[in-house]
Symmetry: C2
Subunit: 385 residues, 2 copies
């Protein structure tokens, strides 16, 4: 196990009816800005529950935060914050709304000239507005971590700080029943790949981290397809297990003390930025390629993954790894996400564009050992044609 | 899964050489009281590392906190705290030192007449001195939770508050290399049983919690005996896995959203209070009895435990449960702790005393359903003769 420092102070309120916890989590005298996306929270009852919880608070709202939240949208919140002396943010939505709100929180108290520097120059965040989150789409883990991804001019770039970690997060699985199949599939796959990126590297004998990761992967494999099947679609226990898995997948715990490989995310970001493909659908295309091209470097963990997650024990090492990769692809297909570039109408010519952009954005030493050069990223994408 | 609220803000510094993190964790202007036990930290180098880390702080020390820390010892710290205006506590030791320091922290700022009310009357804790911990014995999980157990006049009683949760904890597996076999065995078994008490109840389909618990149990089963074997005794990776498992076993995470059964602990406390038996050794005697007597109520989970933790798949349901209980007892024996009252020279006559004390202390509705009456506790102890 590697040395690590780990802390996650976000208070989680989990379960049906927990949105009311918002009332006590936000200081009574706070001036609150409720942030959300396109308005689906108005049709599924979440907005009404938030309004009820905030009935004794002074609050305002900022809507229109889009998937892959853009700087141009987010920066508009600053005028509202100044106008109303906002001192608390409540993000109500999925990962994009929460990520976007983190940028709003940091930008509001940014001391430099240009808040974009927070992302573009990784300018230090010295203070941020406090924020909470009501999660509507289990996927990104943003509700209890300090990370965020913001898009501007075709660049999708990350930033992070403990200061933008939500102070609390409400996880009510009931609100996920109104999600579309596409949202469910994307969410489960996004969480699954977060786990894989902290798990599928080289072994440092971190037995707790490995088993926690394997437990989360198995849970998503079991529960994900049930959330899409008509006979179990309305089952709240299934949604609860998915929701808790997605949060645990990226709250820092399973990644503490182990190497990590975020190459799938970094290559995937270029697919979203250039072609507007849903985030999770870029990951499901890229990860199998990473597994195939980095097979030797990840051999020990691939074998462990095959045995513990998929119960594959027959055949020689290579056969077991092959089958584990195939099973992973089949699981993604079952979750109705693509596993090949051709499924999203991209070809070899597009790989050139993607590699060019990856290089342009400095993503030239990816992977747990920093060994994934643009040339290796090309191989990965070629595997995904 | 049951509804829950979960938060654990303790910052963990894990790994070799991490004691130096104390220097930055405690405010520079704090007046620190370092608390510890019988002085083993002076022979194993931990004391020196703490002194080095605190070289720019103003600090004092309070030693002599014994196993099963007693009120009479702990209350003596109050004079030192007043005399030196202490405003930060640093516990250096195992669960007893940390538990005892939690009581010192709460007693120092207690507003009532008698600090013992914190334990005896569960008087509300409105403030407490901030504290940190340097863990030397992985076992109780006290280093990152808000619970504590204090003994007075033969009564071993719990109290708890988020206000006495350590703000930070240093987990350096290197310092555990100097532990005796008895301490290692006790520690591993204590942690194992903490997990069982949050796992072996009835199923609420909490898949993440179950798999995390099973992963921790498997890790302790694999690594515990290696920490006692001469050829692997010095292996730091083994100690790391044990140390991280013990913390995760009782930091609130695996118990969030699932029923819990602390009957083994409550019955075990009477064994320590009346006969001075090491805490973990009371648990290893009681748990198998609980498994046998509550077999029907815990049937589903016992079968899951047999299959997932011990890979028992042959035989009918009852045979699989029997074998799982036997394997559990064998594991305890391998860790060199007793599994029968006779091994600690107690007989049926002592069971009478224990049941009398249990009743006296109000422990009359134990278990996940509150169904374990003193009569059922007697059955459990009779199974352990």
């Amino acid at each position: 196990m590697l040395n690590f420092t780990f802390q996650n102070p976000t208070r989680i309120h989990f379960g049906e009816g927990q949105i009311k916890a918002v009332a006590k989590e936000i200081p009574a005298n706070a001036k609150v800005l409720v942030t959300y996306g396109g308005g689906s929270i108005k049709s599924n009852g979440v907005y009404d529950q938030v309004v009820e919880a905030l009935k004794d608070h002074s609050w305002f709202e900022f809507s229109g935060i889009e998937p892959n939240p853009s700087y141009d949208t987010l920066i508009k919140a600053q005028a509202l914050i100044e106008q109303h002396d906002i001192d608390y943010l409540l993000a109500v939505g999925g990962g994009s709304v929460i990520d976007g709100t983190k940028f709003i929180a940091a930008a509001a108290l940014f001391e430099g000239d240009d808040p974009w520097d927070i992302v573009a120059k990784q300018a230090p965040i010295k203070q941020a507005l406090p924020m909470g989150a009501v999660l509507t789409l289990p996927a990104t883990g943003s509700e209890s971590n300090g990370g965020s991804v913001v898009t501007r001019d075709g660049c999708k770039l990350p930033f992070g700080s403990p200061l933008v970690r939500p102070q609390f997060a409400v996880l009510d699985p009931q609100v996920t029943l109104s999600l579309s199949d596409r949202q469910i599939g994307n969410g489960v796959v996004d969480a699954f790949i977060h786990i894989m990126e902290q798990y599928l590297t080289y072994s440092v004998n971190g037995k707790v981290q490995d088993r926690f990761s394997e437990g989360l992967l198995q849970t998503l494999i079991e529960e994900g397809p049930k959330a899409l099947a008509s006979e179990t679609k309305e089952d709240l226990e299934i949604r609860s297990n998915i929701m808790w898995s997605a949060t645990m997948a990226l709250n820092g715990l399973i990644g503490a003390g182990v190497p990590q490989d975020w190459s799938t995310h970094m290559i995937g970001h270029e697919l979203t930025a250039a072609y507007g493909i849903d985030h999770a659908r870029t990951l499901s295309i890229v990860l199998p390629g990473v597994m195939k091209v980095r097979r030797e470097q990840k051999r020990e963990k691939l074998l462990q993954y095959a045995e513990r997650v998929w119960q594959i024990t027959d055949g020689d090492d290579d056969a077991r790894i092959d089958l584990a990769i195939t099973k992973t692809e089949q699981f993604f297909s079952q979750m109705q996400v693509p596993v090949r570039l051709s499924e999203v109408d991209l070809t070899e010519k597009d790989v050139d564009t993607l590699i060019k952009n990856l290089t342009l954005h400095g993503m030239t030493t990816l992977g747990e050992q920093g060994e994934i050069t643009p040339e290796i990223s090309r191989e990965i994408l070629m595997q995904a044609l």
